[in-house]
């Protein structure tokens, strides 16, 4: 399922992390599924065991997997999608409140859309100058 490319300039632990996340997104790995142990995976892919351990530690830090001592690594309760939907739901509430307030002040739908676009553009320009 995983196949990092040692010859690419991207660190192998990052490739492995992305491949685990991708496997979760595509449903190849689901919540509660066990990932291969560090040793068997290192041996199967012929990569450094410390690299596998690092990828697993980082994935645990990101909340994607859970390391149960002695038992191995398990995919957590679909942490990624859940966080995303939670964030969007909270954002939607903020936008709804702002739109209601603007409408109450007589700002039209088209004008609201323009205001949002302009605000986003302003953010992008600022980001460019910073970078």
């Amino acid at each position: 399922m995983f196949r990092p490319n040692a010859a690419s300039g991207v660190p192998i632990y990052l490739q492995l992390m992305e491949q685990v996340k991708h496997a979760i997104e595509t449903g190849a790995l689901r919540a509660g599924d066990q990932l291969p142990g560090i040793r068997p995976l290192a041996e199967e892919l012929v990569i450094n065991p410390n690299t596998v351990a690092k990828a697993y530690r980082e994935l645990e830090h990101d909340g994607v997997i859970e390391l149960r001592h002695g038992a191995g690594a398990f995919v957590t309760g679909a942490a990624r999608e859940k966080k995303l939907t939670d964030r969007l739901r909270a954002g939607q509430a903020i936008v709804a409140a702002a739109v209601d307030k603007l409408r109450a002040r007589g700002v039209t739908e088209a004008e609201i859309r323009r205001l949002v676009e302009a605000e986003l553009t302003r953010l992008t320009v600022k980001g460019d100058q910073r970078g």
Binding site: V10, L14, E43, V46, P49
Partner: protein, 299 residues
């Protein structure tokens, strides 16, 4: 082990008959790492290994293994007892059988593991009753590796272990090393001029060039920090010396300037802005690129 490093050298120098084999080599090999020691043939890899194992004395500088001074004959006995070594010669006796060679070697090591011995005999498909002189090059390497792995060593030192092996035998050897390191936490120090082997299994590397350390570090850090930045100009690329840290190499060709940075892109791009390039672009670089750009091509 001092500071978590199994092997440490500082400004190591070695002169043979007026020829400088080592001209200031500094490496630190972290405990538990798989350390790739990269360099072209004649860069000083074997000389370094000989000094570490007490087979040659440094002209100047310091080398220690397990915190013990490598140049001291008494310390060297201890170092070699705790180290599995696979050299170019492999140290095999042609008159013996595989089994005979194994029993002979095992008699020197009280911590010898019969269990691992059986495991690697099967895994490498060596054939215990075969005569050593009938073994192929790949088989000889595998037997030498078995002898190094079964003695319960804390450190494995391998001098060009995959040279001359076909891809399948190379994969067998690398896989055994990775598995062994994972099971036993053994530190592996291996020299190679095969970039692909090093890229695949090492977590730390040193690139050495003509007896000196050119690049050292964690391989992932190198992958993360080395970038090639391309600047395109309206006219010919200006002759310019960067002040920012981490600029390893600058090449100019017509309207294009290519900068190899070991410290990411921000510093270089920031400084390059005053040169008014019409476009900038950056890309990660492979270990091969780093190797070719830091090791002198001309002799």
């Amino acid at each position: 082990m001092a500071d978590g490093f199994v092997i440490e050298t500082a400004d190591l120098r070695k002169t043979y008959d007026g020829i400088d084999a080592l001209r200031g080599l500094t490496v630190s090999v972290p405990t538990g790492s798989i350390y790739g020691f990269l360099g072209r043939t004649g860069a000083g890899k074997t000389t370094t290994i000989k000094i570490l194992l007490g087979m040659a004395r440094p002209t100047a500088g310091r080398a220690s293994v397990f915190g013990l001074p490598a140049h001291s004959p008494t310390a060297s006995v201890d170092i070699r007892r705790r180290t599995g070594f696979v050299g170019d010669e492999k140290g095999l006796y042609d008159a013996m059988t595989v089994r005979g060679m194994i029993r002979h070697t095992a008699s020197f090591y009280p911590q010898w593991s019969r269990e691992l011995e059986e495991q690697y005999l099967r895994r490498f498909d060596l054939g215990a009753e075969r005569g050593i002189k009938t073994l192929s090059r790949g088989m000889r390497t595998k037997l030498a590796l078995l002898l190094a792995l079964c003695r319960g060593a804390d450190l494995l030192v391998l001098d060009e272990p995959t040279t001359g092996l076909d891809p399948a035998a190379t994969e067998d050897v690398l896989q055994a090393l990775v598995g062994h390191a994972a099971d036993h936490g053994t530190t592996v120090f291996f020299s190679s001029h095969q970039l692909t082997d090093v890229e695949q299994i090492a977590d730390h590397v040193a690139i050495i060039d003509r007896g000196r350390t050119a690049v050292t570090g964690a391989l992932d850090d190198l992958r993360q920090n080395y970038r090639r930045i391309q600047l395109v100009f309206d006219g010919d690329a200006p002759a310019y010396t960067f002040q920012v840290k981490g600029v390893e190499r600058v090449k100019r060709s017509g309207r294009v300037m290519t900068v190899l940075s070991s410290a990411g892109i921000d510093g270089v791009l920031g400084e390059a802005r005053q040169l008014n390039p019409v476009s900038t672009d950056s890309a990660p670089v492979t270990l091969k690129d780093i190797f070719l750009d830091t090791v002198a091509v001309e002799d």
